[in-house]
Symmetry: C4
Subunit: 330 residues, 4 copies
């Protein structure tokens, strides 16, 4: 039922813009993908209610914000209930915890905290019916609210979160008599990622009928999938005569606002769950005529081989190859 089999005349090229659409792809002067994989676009005009995905928001805000919000909500709830107990009248609360002058707002606040968290020492006590009803409500709301906060806390804690490190620079390196576009990735978590697949797209502005149009080209990779990803993986696109990079120089990439889009997908083994990661390289993040430094620590006898991830970003410049098509640019 796919359009390809039914209607083969529409070409596949436009499918390569990945969904950015021609307006964003062509007119944006920002990079399409940020280094962390997020987009340089924004949606406006959603009503507050329709865009409300509180759960997503609680899951993705920074930890300090999350903890601050939860603590603040807890504090404000106690303040609100404290006022509620005060409004129940002077004799609503009583007990050894209150001084000679009766239970004031401070005592009501502490009583509320003991109630909402279900500690309930009993040195301050609800006396009037109204106070007792408020206690019934507060202990119910408190348990559900704290359980919700705890569940959010755990959801943040347990969210599958592959953190794949991309080398700061991509390189144009000598490769089997020609050159290749290469970058390196490593798994920065202790969990295992398996069945990791890579797609690399080369995107640049081209003139078409006098208009500037962004085109996307998939780059053929030396290998596009690894079954295991225990250490690091150098992803290699050989620049042979069929490559869209063939004959291009650093200035060409910069002039055409070129961007290399990287899409990775794999399976987090701990949770048997799919993970998706993205990144991109712009022209100025590519080092020409270089090679990656070795990341392997040669083993002592009877020791497993290790890699030094802090060397992942290290690039070693090569002497300019005299009859290369490429010139080291910066």
């Amino acid at each position: 039922m796919s359009s390809r089999t039914i209607h083969p005349i529409y070409n596949e090229e436009q499918n390569r813009d990945l969904g950015f659409g021609s307006v964003v792809a062509t007119e944006s002067r920002e990079r399409l993908l940020n280094r962390d994989g997020s987009f340089n676009v924004a949606r406006r005009g959603l009503s507050f209610r329709s865009s409300l995905s509180l759960y997503h928001w609680f899951l993705t805000i920074a930890w300090w914000k999350f903890l601050a919000i939860v603590t603040l909500v807890y504090f404000m709830a106690n303040v609100a209930f404290a006022f509620g107990y005060v409004l129940c009248g002077p004799g609503a609360l009583a007990g050894a915890g209150c001084g000679a002058s009766g239970c004031g707002l401070a005592q009501a606040f502490f009583f509320s905290a003991e109630t909402i968290s279900t500690v309930g020492y009993g040195h301050i006590l609800p006396v009037s019916v109204a106070a007792n009803l408020l206690v019934t409500l507060e202990s119910f709301v408190g348990l559900l609210g704290l359980a919700l906060a705890a569940s959010l806390l755990f959801a943040r804690f347990s969210r599958p979160n592959a953190r794949i490190i991309f080398s700061q620079s991509a390189i144009i390196a000598p490769y089997q008599g020609i050159t290749a576009f290469e970058f390196r990735i490593a798994n920065a978590r202790s969990n295992q990622i398996i069945e990791l697949a890579a797609q690399v797209l080369f995107s640049r502005l081209e003139k078409s009928d006098g208009k500037s149009v962004r085109r996307f080209y998939p780059l053929a990779l030396e290998r596009d999938k690894v079954t295991f990803f225990p250490l690091s993986w150098t992803i290699v696109h050989p620049i042979d005569e069929t490559s869209p990079l063939s004959g291009l120089r650093h200035e060409d990439l910069r002039a055409s606002d070129a961007e290399f889009l990287i899409l990775l997908s794999g399976i987090d083994e701990t949770f048997s769950q799919a993970v998706h990661t993205r990144s991109s390289y712009k022209a100025d993040e590519i080092v020409w005529n270089a090679k990656f430094a070795n990341v392997f620590n040669r083993r002592a006898d009877n020791q497993p081989i290790t890699i030094a991830i802090d060397r992942l970003h290290q690039v070693e410049r090569l002497e300019t190859h005299p009859n290369s098509d490429f010139v080291a640019a910066d």
Copy 2:
């Protein structure tokens, strides 16, 4: 092991009715799919027990209903336990929280609430063995019940819930010398959806041997998948000579009870989980000879491009094309 390879003579057409079956597809005068993707059919005759999917029901009822039910159950449980304590006899409960006349039903209710929520101030206390046993039961049931309620609350809160907005109208628009059937979608949540795929089926009643039969035709799309869905996507079916829409007019669609069925599937990136969405357009929800208004806010310098989702539904009528096959119908 598919029937296609083993037994190629059964045609694929009937697979296109999507599972509605010929009775529903042909005899129903309702739309097959509602705008929100639900079905216009119902199952009867299930015994209460066999249809009991309480969890599904708790997950999908409205929030106010959910909260009302949970609160009511909590209240009724306390009432029941309160009667239980009263039934234990006059001396079952005692304490400073009870007046001179002993602990009545109201005190028993407040004591129950303090027990079920595990607050336990201690100003009302179980004295008799029966009351103590009831307390043991209530605190156990209370903790499990409130934990279940809290888990349901969190499950509702965290349920992956892509909300894709469909443009109120589809349009028949000029497209590269011919016309096209088009509609627009946008992601109304702040989460990212990736690998979004679309299927569009055109369905109408046709005469076959004097009988009215509903037929389903897949429509070839300009593109049927986007890798990213950061903003909006205009889904386009070009009406060329191979299209089942070729030569049809608004009256034809209406007369044949035509319906365009839309099926979307993608991956919610926050939870790495598949999402499925459906909708449909009937003949009167299609605007002929129109185009969609621009949704992009042209960027100020150094600002990302944004889209205004409130303009998603805006359709601009075009002047009737003199030699068009189509006539603007309403």
Copy 3:
């Protein structure tokens, strides 16, 4: 990397035994699949520890067993802690809750229940250091234990559980001039199942070199997948000349210990989760020369069409077709 491309000479037939293996497939006189989809096999010799999948067990036992076990564990834990407090010595516990004779085992039990559930009224109190330490332990263990029980309760409650009803009998029915093997299914839950796919295998004992060997044949289906499953689905295998059922009679099926294995897989839309269901029909569960009763309630005007699931199993016998290959057998 599949064996098919590398080594095409091994035939695919043995892949059709589904993994039962030749010993079970041939020697077992039980049906291979029970009606509820479970297997007629058992594993022995696993050490208790290695087979220990407590979670799986807690998830799949009957509700009354689960609740009985949780309640019993809670009760026994309180008994154990009660003895612990008694062992701390006569002055370990004290308080208004204990009578003049001090705190006995009953009081220790009630105190334990108030502590493990964190109610903590304070009418019985730990006095000695040992009792206080035991309280610290019990409240910690109690909270974790009750949270674990509550999580299990919720996991049971929320477990995706497609319940697809299979018609009690399959039928051999007239179909487009020939006959067909047919059975019906319906969704007994209120949740939606989409992308439902069916596989049907015909299995029987055959003589091969004088030995009895069980063979498996896939049956070509009129359609093997539905996109939606809103109501019921009649799954149809037309018995044409290529069918392995061609020319067989009821006695043949019974004599060869025939069994029709049904495998369904789909997606539960509420949870976006895959569901798998199985069942089987033996020769005596097939009604020959029959058709299924209509399950649709013809609509009143402006009412959606409904199905009556209690009629799913209804089969209507047809008069024996004079020149049929088949004879109604029972």
Copy 4:
């Protein structure tokens, strides 16, 4: 968009090293895969913060470690809060629970435990404002912390954990006139695994241009997938003339540091979740000229067939076949 269709000249052989990379594959003298499926490699140089996947760590450490850590954290938190209450001054806490000399550190510790677990008997009480504020904080932190611990406990308990047992030895057995490389697996859990697929790779060091290079060869299997996995599965690679094992002897395998890598993937039916398992066999874990002992218990009448999993590892030596290419080696 795969590199194969676009750029077919890069050969697929290097994709068979599974992602170990040439340095590890060639230089490591350890086995690539341990028997339990883990890797013999390590990553160094990750900063503590960037490698921090606490959740993964809590999920995979041993049970005794997990419980020890949770208990220790609970204990230390109480010690810290106890010092906090002491630091609030001599009159911060009071109550019947404290002796004539006032509330000391021990009482503060017990009070903290009653507060953090929300028991709250009320025999020790916060008096000063500072102590009350600390109580408010502790009950809040305590509930969230204990909920987090309980969630971790449940996540460990409920983690899908297929435990597939591999036979201790693989064998080289007679098979249909030739020989075959075989090993056996069984499901050691009571849950069902379906759609189980197997890949077997043969890996050895080879001389290439005078250098030692590790090569990987997929082995064609008699069957590479089972729909059900109710009992055991003997996975068979027939050693015909196209097999990379053809003509090899035990000494050859040992000399070339050969390793058989096993990759299994399937679906855990209880949770509808993908599971992945790995193992490997080295030359010395292969028994030549042997067959596996029968694991089936022949049924008594009307009893289902069972397997004895403790016989899974039993291998029966055969007399050396006089004109075999193979010699039993140890």
